[in-house]
């Protein structure tokens, strides 16, 4: 049986400089794709030549303050080989675009819509790139790091509205610890207070 590391090596043999050296963390193999605009052909190869027949998820990261600002992460799985492979690529804030992979895996449709809705990354060529969780006309991208937890007030006449949530001194944060529940209880911990 071919392992995920071998599949990653085959990707690298095919695409050369485009694919980074595979990294392993806790048994999971990740490769980075240098040029986000070539994600489609990498995915085509992974599906049709390497037999990665299932796209588990697409997730996005916001490295606020860094450049490139966003990462897009594709979780690939091969049911026949029982292997998992992670593809990563970077998107800058100014460019903010990745080609869609809905032509490779149809399930990418809703994953890409969610990524667009929450993070504002555009997927070029997507058949229906509309909001999926928030409503049409909502002006913000809530999972970006510069979006406040309590939200921003919006008003779309006859459609929807939002107001700022009262934080009451929050956010209330739990600190992971083996102490008793009094210590672990969510409390007001503002970064400005230094606590």
């Amino acid at each position: 049986m071919t392992s995920a590391a071998e599949f990653a090596q085959q990707l690298k043999d095919e695409f050369g400089e485009l694919i980074s050296e595979p990294t392993e963390f806790r048994g999971e193999i990740t490769v980075n794709i240098a040029d986000a605009s070539r994600i489609t052909e990498v995915c085509e190869f992974a599906k049709h030549e390497l037999d990665f027949d299932y796209l588990i998820d697409i997730s996005t990261l916001d490295h606020y303050g860094e450049d490139p600002r966003f990462s897009v992460v594709y979780e690939l799985s091969s049911i026949s080989h029982r292997q998992h492979l992670r593809l990563k690529t970077q998107v800058t804030e100014e460019h903010g675009e990745v080609p869609t992979i809905t032509g490779v895996w149809r399930t990418a449709d809703w994953h890409e819509r969610e990524a667009y809705d929450m993070m504002g990354i555009k997927f070029v060529g997507h058949p229906n790139l509309t909001r999926i969780l928030m409503w049409e006309g909502y002006p913000h991208f809530p999972l970006r790091k510069d979006f406040p937890l309590e939200g921003k007030p919006t008003e779309v006449p006859d459609v929807a509205f939002t107001k700022t949530a009262p934080m009451e001194g929050g956010p209330f944060v739990t600190i992971a610890s083996s102490e008793n529940s009094t210590v672990r209880e969510p409390r007001r911990r503002n970064p400005e207070d230094g606590k």
């Binding site: 969780l133 913000h140 809530p142 937890l149 929807a160 107001k163 949530a165 009262p166 009451e168």
Partner: protein
């Protein structure tokens, strides 16, 4: 043991006359047949279903007829987290209910937003609807739902229905 005051229908006195006020009669009819509009939006909806099942049996209080049509219901039980995306739908369904109508906010989320202090959740359904009874809990036990319903029945029983509709004639 004899009951001194008879309220409502009693076959022993059929054919005779019952003395009451219009308010008392109308309110008695209303409070013992409150058809809920189950606005189940989250885990509170599951507890509301339990309240309707045999063990807790909401029909003991005349509210077993859960209507999924707002036109046929009297009390909207908002059971769960009201997101902003759902808020306009909840308001619209409430507007479609015929008068007289009441609202029960069931659970922490419907009452105040609960643990969701975030951009996506309406901080209490009372921002868009006139709430009559708030039920505490996350989610409330079915017994709490029944108590909330009884509290609402107590409120309905005191409504000055006739006084609002009929003005006394001047002599």
């Amino acid at each position: 043991m004899t009951q001194k005051t008879e309220i409502g229908y009693n076959s022993k006195v059929e054919g005779e006359v019952i003395h009451t006020t219009v308010d008392a009669a109308v309110n008695w009819f209303r409070k013992n047949s409150m058809w809920p509009m189950p606005m189940g939006l989250a885990c509170c909806g599951i507890e509301l279903m339990a309240a309707g099942c045999s063990r807790f049996d909401i029909s003991r209080f005349g509210s077993e007829v859960m209507r999924f049509s707002p036109r046929q219901s009297d009390v909207m039980i908002v059971a769960g987290t009201v997101t902003y995306k759902m808020a306009t739908a909840v308001k619209r369904i409430y507007d479609q209910m015929v008068e007289p109508k009441w609202v029960i906010a069931m659970g922490a989320c419907a009452s105040s937003g609960g643990m969701y202090r975030s951009y996506a959740v309406l901080q209490g359904v009372d921002q868009i609807l006139p709430v009559d009874v708030y039920i505490a809990g996350c989610p409330p036990r079915p017994e709490a739902v029944l108590e909330g319903l009884m509290k609402l029945q107590g409120k309905v029983a005191k409504e000055p229905w006739a006084k609002q509709h009929f003005k006394p004639t001047a002599k």
